[in-house]
């Protein structure tokens, strides 16, 4: 490692030790980097990005707020979505848990439920396997259906399969814009279909946006797995209880916009990611575009990313 850490503070050294440990235990799961140099190496290159030493150290300290969601954690969220959220939603309020007919009623309700992803980044097959749900023939991504699908054919399929309700799952939701249009199409085209939306990881902005939408219907609900906490979202504006170093780090991200050279509809988006959320959250499957581009933008000659993102064209 050619990073000179001689003058670093105790806190910085400890963070470095933490990251080194996580390199072996967790970051190696990061799928898009499987064929790339190790995290260790990427970290060194990444820190060589900023021009001066103070900025390098600031950039490094950003990682003190990182939330990396590995496979084990995501698996727990998959199971929680089914066992807690879906089950809760399916339990009719008039049936009691100690009612003898309850298990059968629940099984029947499950059989009538269609589990589908919103986009294809959600591993719906894994969701079925890990929860022991009966495999169904088709589990289309509803974002594609909304764009290309034939409403009537979908309805006919649901009728044939006996689906009376729909659960839409997604691994990560940022602003909710993508999900919103899909959900809108669903609600418009299937006005009598009870809907449960389960975003496993969601940003606060996205949750607020989707909540309002979903709850227009009394039999529909949204149940998130985990909401990205404020201390992990650095986008403006400043929050009352945010970490002390956030203002300084925001300035840094704005300063690095030119160097990172990421796309975006505004300088803010170029600094903080799509929707200017600045989510310091990385899933082992991919880094969301709501994360600051310093973390993931890999298409720039002047910037090396730490968790290079696989881009959907």
């Amino acid at each position: 490692m050619s990073i000179d850490r001689r003058d670093w503070s105790d806190a910085e050294q400890e963070l470095f030790s933490r990251l080194t440990y996580l390199d072996g235990q967790l970051f190696s799961e990061y799928a898009p980097a499987r064929e790339l140099p190790s995290f260790d190496h990427r970290l060194q290159e990444w820190l060589n990005g900023p021009g001066d030493e103070p900025d390098r150290r600031r950039l490094f300290s950003l990682l003190g707020h990182l939330y990396f969601i590995g496979q084990k954690e995501l698996d727990v969220l998959y199971r929680k979505a089914f066992r807690a959220d879906v089950m809760w939603w399916l339990t009719p309020s008039e049936v009691h848990i100690d009612d003898a007919s309850f298990p059968a009623a629940l099984t029947e309700a499950l059989d009538q439920t269609w589990f589908c992803p919103i986009t294809d980044s959600m591993n719906i097959a894994h969701f079925h396997h890990i929860n022991g749900i009966r495999e169904r023939d088709l589990r289309p991504e509803w974002r594609a259906l909304a764009k290309l699908g034939d409403r009537d054919r979908v309805a006919a399929h649901m009728g044939a399969q006996g689906f009376r309700r729909l659960v839409l799952l997604e691994d990560f939701v940022g602003t909710g814009n993508q999900a919103k249009s899909t959900i809108e199409w669903t609600l418009d085209n299937f006005p009598d279909l009870p809907l449960l939306v389960c975003p496993l990881v969601i940003c606060r902005a996205g949750l607020d946006a989707l909540r309002g939408q979903v709850r227009q219907r009394p039999d529909s609900e949204i149940r998130p797995g985990v909401v990205v906490p404020d201390r992990c979202a650095i986008g403006p504006p400043a929050q009352p209880s945010e970490p002390d170093d956030f203002p300084e780090l925001r300035d840094l991200l704005m300063r690095l916009v030119t160097l990172v050279d990421a796309p975006g509809s505004s300088d803010e988006e170029r600094a903080f990611g799509y929707g200017s959320i600045g989510a310091l959250t990385v899933l082992f499957t991919n880094c969301p575009n709501n994360a600051p581009p310093v973390l993931h933008h890999s298409d720039s000659p002047t910037w090396n990313s730490l968790f290079p993102r696989v881009i959907r064209a």
Binding site: M1, R6, D10, Q13, S17, T20
Partner: protein, 672 residues
């Protein structure tokens, strides 16, 4: 082990034990610690005292049959020779793990009788547990003839086990409880049944102890002695083989009293004291405990009589043994041996000479002038407040600063201390160099001040520093090596995969590793019992030491990285004394008595922080001259300022209730 794979850190696991990896244990265990603790392997009762990392657990593990078997299977000689005390079998009980400390949690008898009843049953429980363990030990040893032989078990003993068992069961000491037992396996079952009976009672699986148990209470120690005697008289164990009975975590008894409403702790301890008091040549007890947990006057159960040190038992204090003194330099040899063994186990080619391997790998520590040069770096050292001196002195200082910044700092202190009268710059007098003792005592302090003025962190590296920071604690030493090695593996672009001894000479790599280890041990303070309180005190004192040394520009008190209390005053303040002693027993403070410099004064106790915290607090690890003389009131003030519960203003009876003063800081913002 070969070096084909990616290089590992030879110190990766702090503990290499016989339970999980017997082969590695045998390679890594250093017999050096045995040399100075020979009384542990001779007849006679021993109270074994030592902090974690003093080697206490390593020594106690030698008493276990599994360890002996590990050596036999690895075809390595057991670290103690047969004629030198190596012939012994061991049995033991851990007071926490066995559930022995549950006695008293559920009343056995009604009312005030319960204390005595509980003590009696406690003794009975220990008897059964220890005899059961003894039988298991025999079985384990007999599974490995080489081990059994080394232990002093007579060949062919396995054919007489059933006979032995039925004879033992018939002995009077059991009061008929084991009547009808005719086999070795059967005896073990009967013993276990009774132990299970106790456990069921204390786990509330049964409502009473049962008449079986209440009718046949054995007398503490007696069945153990009888078993030992029978083993020999029936020819299963050689006459010159010892039986060592371990009783571990004795200090837990003391905690019982501390925080429960029970008054039983003293009663239970008296049972154990009684066992020692039997002074039975057939059995020798080994009591594992923390410092200061062993009472000054250990009363024996059922009497007012007290155990006498040397007559009934001997105290072996491992911290004392390993602490360097004029007569002893055991620790460096011990450390070197452990170092060498770990490297060899990791696949490096290591010679057989013990001396100097740490230095070979880590290099020597920088000499004072070298350290000074590191702190000054490329900047010049400019004496602060130089303009206060007369011109010729200023010139002298500037010239000195150019040649040796360290000399300059010492010169400034000398001048401040002694004035400028006897300095003749023209004659080239340099008392800060010539007066060797004066200089030697102040070098560490001078370097601290120089580093501070240059806004540099103090540097730690090299074999001497590593050994000094270990403070005669082998666990600290291993963790220092571990951290340094980690930093080394990270630093190398492509770590060598040859088996040649590496040369970790990069000072900054070592420095990084050492600081990491220092932070680790600092953090570890709070993970021990009452650790939060202790850490508050340590943080407070650590900062005080640094302040004192830093602002003392005259260097009048180079020894003020320690404090000293009057012995009599300390004895009179139980709460404070116990707090400090506890800190010492957890290896956080180091305590030494010394004779006062005052004519006709009492003995004083001097206290230092364990050296491993020195990098964290930026203070020297070495101690010179006198520590700071303080009174009880000073200590109490520090404890109050640090926010230690029990010492806060208002905590004392009779004061106004101002208990929540400082409360906010106690649970205040945590880390992260």
């Amino acid at each position: 082990m070969t070096m084909d794979a990616a290089p590992i850190n030879p110190f990766d696991s702090l503990y290499v034990t016989e339970t999980i990896d017997p082969e590695s244990f045998v390679s890594v265990f250093s017999p050096f610690i045995v040399h100075d603790t020979s009384s542990l392997f001779q007849a006679g009762n021993v109270v074994l005292v030592g902090t974690q990392g003093s080697g206490k657990s390593m020594l106690l593990s030698l008493l276990k049959p599994e360890t002996r078997v590990a050596y036999a299977r690895a075809e390595q000689a057991f670290p103690i020779e047969p004629e030198a005390g190596g012939r012994f079998i061991g049995a033991g009980v851990n007071l926490t793990r066995s559930g022995a400390i549950d006695f008293g949690q559920r009343p056995i008898a009604d009312g005030p009788d319960n204390a005595d009843a509980a003590a009696a049953y406690f003794g009975d429980f220990l008897n059964y547990w220890i005899v059961e363990d003894l039988l298991l030990t025999l079985r384990i040893l007999l599974d490995c003839p080489a081990a059994a032989d080394g232990a002093g078990v007579v060949p062919g003993a396995e054919d007489h086990l059933d006979e032995f068992a039925s004879e033992l069961a018939r002995e009077d000491c059991w009061l008929g409880a084991l009547d009808g037992t005719s086999s070795f396996a059967g005896l073990i079952d009967r013993l276990r049944a009774r132990i299970t009976g106790y456990r069921n009672f204390f786990n509330y699986n049964s409502e009473t102890l049962g008449s079986e148990i209440s009718r046949h209470k054995t007398s503490a120690g007696e069945p153990i002695s009888v078993s030992a005697g029978l083993l020999r008289s029936r020819g299963l164990l050689r006459d010159d083989a010892n039986l060592f009975v371990r009783i571990d975590q004795y200090e837990e008894l003391g905690r019982l009293d501390e925080w429960q409403e029970l008054d039983y702790a003293e009663g239970f301890a008296s049972v154990i004291h009684k066992m020692l008091g039997l002074r039975d040549p057939r059995v020798s007890y080994r009591i594992g405990t923390r410092r200061h947990a062993w009472p000054e006057s250990p009363r024996m159960q059922g009497t007012t009589a007290v155990l006498e040190e040397l007559r009934n038992f001997k105290i072996v204090d491992l911290d004392d043994i390993l602490m360097p003194s004029e007569h002893r330099r055991s620790f460096p040899k011990f450390a070197e041996d452990v170092f060498r063994r770990r490297l060899r186990w990791a696949g490096y080619r290591v010679g057989t000479e013990t001396q100097g391997i740490v230095r070979e790998v880590f290099g020597p520590s920088p000499r004072p002038n070298e350290r000074a040069d590191i702190y000054v770096g490329s900047r010049r050292y400019i004496p602060p407040k130089a303009s206060e001196w007369p011109e010729e002195i200023q010139t002298l200082l500037m010239r000195t600063a150019e040649q040796s910044p360290l000399d300059c700092v010492l010169a400034e202190a000398y001048l401040r201390q002694r004035g400028t009268e006897d300095i003749d710059p023209a004659a080239g007098s340099q008392p800060w160099i010539d007066r060797q003792w004066w200089r030697k005592e102040r070098t560490a302090q001078a370097l601290l001040q120089l580093a501070a003025r240059q806004r540099q962190r103090m540097i730690w590296c090299g074999a001497e520093d590593v050994l000094a920071l270990s403070g005669a604690n082998i666990l600290v030493f291993v963790s220092l090596c571990q951290s340094i090695w980690d930093a080394y593996l990270r630093a190398e672009e492509s770590p060598q995969s040859s088996s040649a001894l590496p040369s970790i000479r990069d000072r900054y790599v070592q420095d990084e590793g050492i600081y990491q280890a220092s932070r680790y041990w600092h953090r570890k303070v709070r993970t021990d019992p009452d650790g939060d309180s202790r850490l508050r005190f340590v943080d407070h004192v650590g900062q005080l030491f640094r302040e004192w040394l830093r602002v003392d520009t005259r260097m009048s008190y180079p020894g003020h990285n320690g404090f000293s209390l009057d012995g009599a005053e300390l004895r009179a303040d139980k709460q404070l004394r116990e707090f400090l002693q506890q800190a010492a027993s957890y290896g956080v403070l180091v305590d030494r008595s010394h004779s006062t410099r005052n004519r006709g004064g009492n003995r004083r106790h001097k206290w230092y922080l364990a050296p491993i915290y020195s990098p964290y607090f930026q203070i020297p690890a070495s101690h010179v001259k006198e520590p700071k003389y303080v009174g009880i009131a000073d200590l109490r003030k520090w404890l109050a300022e640090a926010g230690v519960p029990g010492f806060l203003p208002g905590s004392r009876p009779g004061r106004r209730d101002r208990e929540d003063e400082g409360q906010e800081s106690l649970f205040g913002t945590g880390e992260d």
